[in-house]
Amino acid sequence: MSIANISKILLMGIGNTVTVFAVTLFFAIPLGLVLSFISMSKIALFRAPVRAFVFVMRGTPLMLQLFFVCFGLPFLPYVGRYLVMDRFYAACLTFVLNYAAYFCEIFRGGLLSIDAGQYEAAKVLGLSKWQVRLKVVIPQMIKVVLPPVSNESITLVKDTALITTIGLTETLHYAKSLVNSTASVLPYGVAAVFYLLMTFVLTKLFEYLERKYAF
């Protein structure tokens, strides 16, 4: 089987790969940002649930979380039957929650890195809490968190392959069936190139952003 034909088949899976990737980044970054601010709240009642959530999401395998949401939730007493979800939505939801926890920790580190003098200068100039966050804190945070966010995004590209475990098709799924049906290792190589291409694009994008935020 030619590389072109292999690629054609793998491309059928790339839609899911890219969608899970994009949906996760799109929702997990803002959610992680909000969580990071809450996790730094002075009020323990706000802070504690977020810290607990982050602990659980980072402390258990993503695959377990996928199984839990997809196959486990429907067995919950009383509410279970309302929690039967389309598998693809279940996968997206799980990825968003899992990555939001990681982003929360990254952003928390970013928040901690901001000098107290920045808040004081902003306060003395009369900026409101929201103005301080949006105009002073977040832009400076971005610079600090770009490298770890880049790292996390590249991990995400590869983590998307996990959705095969709940019976969804994606790039790796097709590669595996092709290897079985053609008795050739080539489809794995082509799949690897696909992942490398996505990683390459991401790396370039983040290099650009890092240059832009080099203040």
């Binding site: 000098d115 003098g117 920045q118 004081e120 200068a121 902003a122 306060k123 003395v124 100039l125 009369g126 900026l127 409101s128 103005q131 105009k135 002073v136 832009p139 400076q140 610079k143 935020y213 203040f215």
Partner: protein
Amino acid sequence: MNIIHAVGVKKKFGGLEVLKGVDLSVSQGEVVAIIGPSGSGKSTLLRCLIELERIDEGSIYVGGRPLVENGVYVKEKEIKEIRRRMGMVFQHFNLFPHMTVWQNLLLAPLSVLKMDKKEAEDRATEVLSQVGLLEKKNELPKNLSGGQKQRVAIARALMMRPDILLFDEPTSALDPELTGEVLSVMQDLARNDATMVIVTHEMEFAKNVADRIIFMNEGVIALEGTPKEIFENTTHARLAAFLARWDAKEQEEGQANIG
């Protein structure tokens, strides 16, 4: 009228009493220098005036309005209005590093005062010229020297047209050869009748520019008076010891500069 009037100010950090009953009045157009050994509460006093720290006891009035009366603070909204009449310049400049000089200057006028864009830009041009940095308006703070950064910080404070400017050791983080440019900007402000409270270790500057000098020691105002009264005082043991140490240090630095 007194722009600042503070009475019986006490402030604790945990168990440590840092201000032990300070009275301070600053009148319109006055330049007050606060000197004293490290840890005597100079910064804390300044920070309390602009509500970066909260006092435990006493009262502070700004422009006749209470900020805190007998340890009870007014409402947050009023605190904001009162703070708006003051500007502060920090030892470490605290410029916003992600913004150009120009953006640093315009941020608060546009987003806090809702000043008209044109008006804000005219004001920015004016204050940047005043501190001699108009040609640096598009630079990021990281491309400026320490002295230039501090001049921008002063300009940023001036944008808000404060009734009073507070300086906390504005030259202490600077290389000795860069202090002059900052002090000369401050001297210009003094000449133009700005009201200023300046915590400083620059004794020459305090002597030449201040109308009044306050010597703080261990959380109280140990002595205050005109520069002449302070620097020619020989009877106050603590002050004499402090000034002697200062002279020794100056000598040493002088020697080092020559050697």
